[in-house]
């Protein structure tokens, strides 16, 4: 029985409405409990803030695409190395860290759970192999099902329940956590080099529209009672004027919402919030997007914040990535996956001096600050697309400090600065709200009931940062706050102290979450898929599903479906 007590810290636990009170947190056997015995190990958190461990709802850290990107970019690694120590493995970093480095760097920042948001089902085994070599954090991954032939055919034929049963099979076969859609319909069109450009374009060879796919999968998600909503990367991503598509995507499922609960999550909203006709007059659609979100409660978003840095774009949006190749002339990787999805990789550098990039930088912050309810807009960079996850501490200061934002604003392209709404926005997120957008809100959106909070029964995943809100206002002393968020005073994972002063003191491995959906007729689905398997894929039915033992530490969430 390992007992720990974190004493006397300022607690920020929004899910339990605790806003900076001084409290002790008691831990036993990896869980937060009411009380511990006197001989429990003590962590002195006086003068420091205590939050649930960080949670990242969307970060590309493992799998075929990520690894091909690592292979593509030796130049990204050479400038950032991690030396082997007695406790830690060596590795490389920057925008595409190797797996061990990924785990260590998240943990050093006080993060304890990360969601890998894109997994080609046929290559799921690869994602899980890499996650098994990613230490320190709990993780999960979302299979790409938005262009899966079974989905397209079922939805076209109105067989929503049938589709739900098949997707339940798919989630188990790939040990996935949520239904991911990327440019729905566009990826299938890209199989022959085409794309879709609106929600009502017809997908070639399948006679279905993106609107139907989104609505169909939204209904499926509800029937399956999944912990998270559908996770959508919208059509027309990265195109000037696309904020219209983002709004249409949100509107198209308005009528499917139940009891004010979200039914859709749109990811990296910054890339979908462009106003203007072309790159020359690009401006921010943040006002329109925020206005909609402020008046509706069926959609959650994450930011997709841009950081001025050299990074790597990698998404399942094959046609978009090809377009980015044309825009930049950089090296371009494309990887279509039979029957299922697509993918592309293009290195990219965001520059302060570029009007477009600087506008992009402003957009995500505008959205985060204009949306009144922090539970609706979560912090991400869509790592590594907007920037490496190691830039989170910097972004946190932009959210909590106008001064920090102004420091950046002073140096960005003049045209973008003139257009930016940020000079007119005084709002600074409080530490409580920051805890929402980086932990509590993330856990809530994901349906992870034992995470993102510090109440009794929660997983003992805790971050303690060296910020004393009584002594210094983090919105004024933002450089110190940034340093504090970069190197956690303590990271506690599953009740063990794993990081002290930003150094790994105990290497551990976390769990892989996935949903085990119980349907009423699983055998029929198995038989159906088995019969058609060879027509669709080039592998055998038996070799496709991943055995549970393959995962380093499997943690299924059992849900009962309504099919």
């Amino acid at each position: 029985m390992t007992e720990l007590i974190a004493k006397n810290g300022f607690i920020y636990d929004p899910l339990n409405r605790i806003n900076g009170e001084k409290m002790d947190i008691c831990i036993r056997d990896g869980k937060i409990v009411d009380s511990v015995k006197d001989k429990a190990d003590v962590v002195d958190a006086s003068g420091m803030i205590v939050m649930p461990g960080g949670i990242d709802i969307h970060s590309h850290i493992a799998g075929g695409e990520v690894d091909t990107a690592r292979l593509l970019r030796p130049e990204d690694h050479v400038k950032d190395v991690e030396v082997k120590t007695a406790l830690t493995r060596s590795g490389v970093g920057y925008s595409l860290p190797s797996t061990f480095t990924t785990g260590y760097r998240y943990s050093r920042m006080g993060y304890t759970t990360v969601m890998n948001p894109s997994m080609a089902p046929l290559q799921a085994r690869h994602t899980h192999e890499e996650l098994s070599d990613t230490p320190m954090i709990d993780k999960a991954t979302y299979p790409l099902i938005g262009d899966w032939w079974f989905s397209l055919e079922h939805i076209r034929d109105g067989l929503i329940e049938e589709n739900a049963a098949h997707i339940a099979w798919m989630l188990k076969a790939t040990r996935g956590y949520a239904i991911k859609l990327v440019n729905p319909g566009g990826l299938e069109a890209w199989g022959f080099g085409r794309n879709v450009h609106s929600l009502d374009d017809t997908v070639p060879n399948f006679g279905i529209t993106p609107r139907e796919i989104i609505r169909g999968l939204c209904k499926v998600n509800t029937l399956l009672n999944l912990p998270h909503t559908i996770h959508l990367h919208t059509n027309n991503l990265g195109r000037p004027g696309n904020y219209v598509t983002a709004l249409e995507s949100m509107k198209c499922v308005e009528d499917l919402a139940r009891e004010d609960k979200p039914v859709m999550h749109i990811t990296h909203i910054q890339f979908c919030a462009f106003k203007g006709e072309d790159w020359g007059n690009l401006s921010s659609g943040a006002e329109e997007i925020s206005h909609y979100i402020n008046n509706h409660s069926h959609v959650t978003l994450d930011m997709g914040q841009v950081v001025f840095s050299d990074t790597t774009t990698l998404t399942a949006d094959g046609p978009f990535q090809y377009g980015l190749y044309h825009l930049t002339g950089n090296k371009w990787v494309n990887h279509d996956v039979e029957t299922e999805t697509s993918g592309g990789i293009v290195p990219f550098r965001y520059k302060r001096s570029s009007a477009v990039h600087a506008t992009q930088w402003s957009i995500a912050l505008e959205i985060a600050l204009l949306i009144k309810d922090p539970w609706k807009i979560l912090m991400t960079t869509d790592h590594p697309n907007g920037g490496p996850f190691t830039s989170y501490p910097k972004i946190m200061t932009w959210l909590i400090s106008k001064g920090a934002r102004e420091k950046v604003l002073r140096k960005i392209n003049k045209r973008a600065r003139k257009k930016s709404l940020l000079p007119t926005i005084d709002r600074e997120l409080s530490l409580y709200e920051l805890a929402v957008v980086t932990r509590a809100g993330q856990a809530k959106a994901l349906g992870l009931k034992d995470k993102g909070h510090l109440g009794v029964g929660a997983d003992a995943d805790i971050a303690i940062y060296n910020i004393n809100p009584e002594r210094a206002d983090p919105s004024k002393k933002f450089e110190a706050a940034r340093q504090a968020f970069t190197s956690a005073a303590y990271t506690i994972k599953s009740g063990q102290i794993v990081v002290k002063n930003g150094e790994i003191v105990k290497p551990i491995f976390g769990k892989t979450y996935w949903v085990d959906v119980k349907t009423s007729m699983p055998q029929e689905v198995n038989d159906d898929i088995k019969k058609k398997f060879r027509e669709y894929w080039t592998v055998e039915y038996e070799n496709y599903p991943i055995q549970e033992g393959f995962l380093h530490s499997s943690a299924p969430l059992t849900v009962k479906a309504e099919v």
Binding site: L71, K84, L96, L122
Partner: protein
């Protein structure tokens, strides 16, 4: 008698997973259905010539040893070395490769795999310009133009055409098997006419080769068509619709000439690489007019003059074609898990091969940190070889330097490499006696199966490496105390 279905074949990068293995009651494989000649040979004969016990060289002779003795000796060699080279990896599972990276890191050595003498240039090409590719099912479903360039699947990847390309059936394209049969009939008629003419006319009569007549009619039909580009007419070329014979060493010129034409440019010459420009123009018309084209390439490009520049040109050609139609490219990986070796190395160290861990962190500089170059300069003072036979394949100067230093070989059979070794550790055959994971040439991961029991006392590659790693740590600790 047991029938085991959906078995993956541990031989080549085609990585067929539809093999059916029949095992008799004495734990012996008696049939390997669906397997090609190479796969069947491995499944049926793998155990015939295996090394039966670990061996250690004492006084110049290899003598039997226990597994513990051999592990201890191997660990000693690695601990005492300043710059050990850990090479091979392509014929074993990812599970073993993962331990291998940890071992290389622990001993501060260089980790390199067979890509270094095979598709290493392809990797360098990708690192320069990227690559437009897909999983093999995309070709099966959609490709109506297949190009095998400097690659001869008929010999090296026998079931590739029937599983993924010209003789496969997909959602949008059908097999061109009937095309091939018609062509065979046509060839036979041609031969008969030729023989008859020679008899009647009493002189030598030959039909002109493909490119002097313009492209064959079948190249303009709306079905799957195959082109082979090679320096000689291979069996694959026989089965293809069109054969383009490129002058040896001139692939780079040919690829760049095609790029000029694809980009609507004009060529100032009449022929390139021995092929008339008119033929090239017709070829480009076909390429631009297809629905989805795929270019598979092999060692004829990676290991001929130009090396990675050839690959750069080939990838750039397919990339340029994407502005006109959908076009993909894929290297024909040789060993069944060389792709896995690259992938595992990349996710753990950031680099796919030639990874130098001697400074405590990964460094990558092919030419400096690659196996053949290190051996040529005689910089490695010990070597561990696993799942590979470098002495049979490396340049002689490099192999001579292998012989000068302690050599550990983890290999189930006698090879030129084991014959030079100081320690031999025979493992189980992964994919037959041990489970694991491996990656097909298109990066699709599949499970390796266990279909028979290994002989008593044999450890898997993974277990051997783990034991060596533990022993290395023990010895290092002892040294420190």
């Amino acid at each position: 008698m047991t029938v085991i279905t959906s078995v993956t074949c541990p031989v080549c990068g085609t990585f067929c997973d539809d093999i059916e293995i029949i095992v008799d009651d004495n734990n012996k494989i008696i049939e390997a259905r669906n397997a090609c000649a190479m796969g069947a040979a491995k499944f049926l004969n793998f155990s015939d010539h295996r090394i039966k016990t670990p061996l250690i060289r004492k006084n110049g002779e290899l003598v039997e040893a226990t597994i513990d003795e051999a592990i201890e000796k191997a660990a000693q060699i690695l601990v005492e070395a300043h710059y050990p080279l850990l090479y091979g990896w392509s014929n074993t599972s990812c599970e073993a490769q993962r331990v291998g990276v940890e071992l290389a890191e622990e001993v501060g050595g260089v980790l390199d795999n067979t890509s270094t003498i095979c598709h290493g240039p392809s990797i360098l090409g990708v690192q320069a310009v990227g690559i437009s590719s897909a999983t093999l099912g995309q070709m099966r479903h959609r490709a109506d133009l297949i190009i095998y360039w400097a690659s001869n699947p008929w010999d090296a990847h026998p079931r590739h055409p029937e599983r993924y390309t010209m003789f496969s059936d997909g959602r949008f394209q059908k097999s061109s098997w009937t095309n091939y049969l018609s062509k065979l009939r046509g060839e036979m008629s041609k031969k008969k006419i030729q023989r008859a003419s020679n008899l009647v006319l009493k002189k030598d009569f030959h039909f002109a080769p493909c490119h002097e007549e313009g492209l064959p009619y079948s190249m303009y039909q709306q079905k799957r068509r195959t082109i082979v580009v090679d320096v000689r007419k291979t069996r694959t070329a026989d089965a293809a619709d069109c054969f383009i014979q490129v002058e040896p060493g001139k692939d780079y010129e040919l690829l760049q000439a095609l790029r000029v034409l694809v980009n609507d440019g004009e060529l100032d010459v009449d022929e390139v690489a021995g092929i008339p420009v008119k033929t090239l123009e017709d070829l480009v018309d076909v390429m631009v007019g297809c629905k989805l084209g795929i270019l598979f390439f092999g060692l004829g490009l990676t290991m001929s003059k130009g090396k990675h520049r050839n690959i750069d040109a080939a990838i750039s050609l397919t990339r340029d074609l994407n502005s006109r139609t959908k076009f993909l490219i894929m290297p024909m990986r040789g060993h069944y898990n060389v792709t896995g070796a690259d992938i595992v190395s990349t996710w753990q160290t950031g680099y796919p091969f030639a990874v130098d861990l001697s400074n405590g962190y990964p460094r990558y500089n092919p030419g400096e940190t690659s196996a053949v170059d290190i051996l040529n300069r005689n910089e490695a003072d010990a070597m561990l070889v696993i799942a590979s036979d470098p002495v049979a394949h490396f340049p002689r100067a490099a192999s001579k330097n292998i012989a000068k230093h302690p050599l550990i070989s983890i290999d189930p059979e006698i090879t030129p490499t084991t014959m030079l070794a100081d320690v031999i550790l025979p493992p189980t055959f992964v994919g037959i006696e041990t489970e694991g994971t491996a990656y097909r040439m298109d990066h699709v991961p599949l499970p390796l199966k266990k279909v028979v029991e290994p002989p008593e006392g044999f450890l898997s590659d993974k277990e051997i490496l783990q034991r060596i790693l533990e022993k290395v740590r023990e010895l290092k600790k002892r040294d420190m105390d």
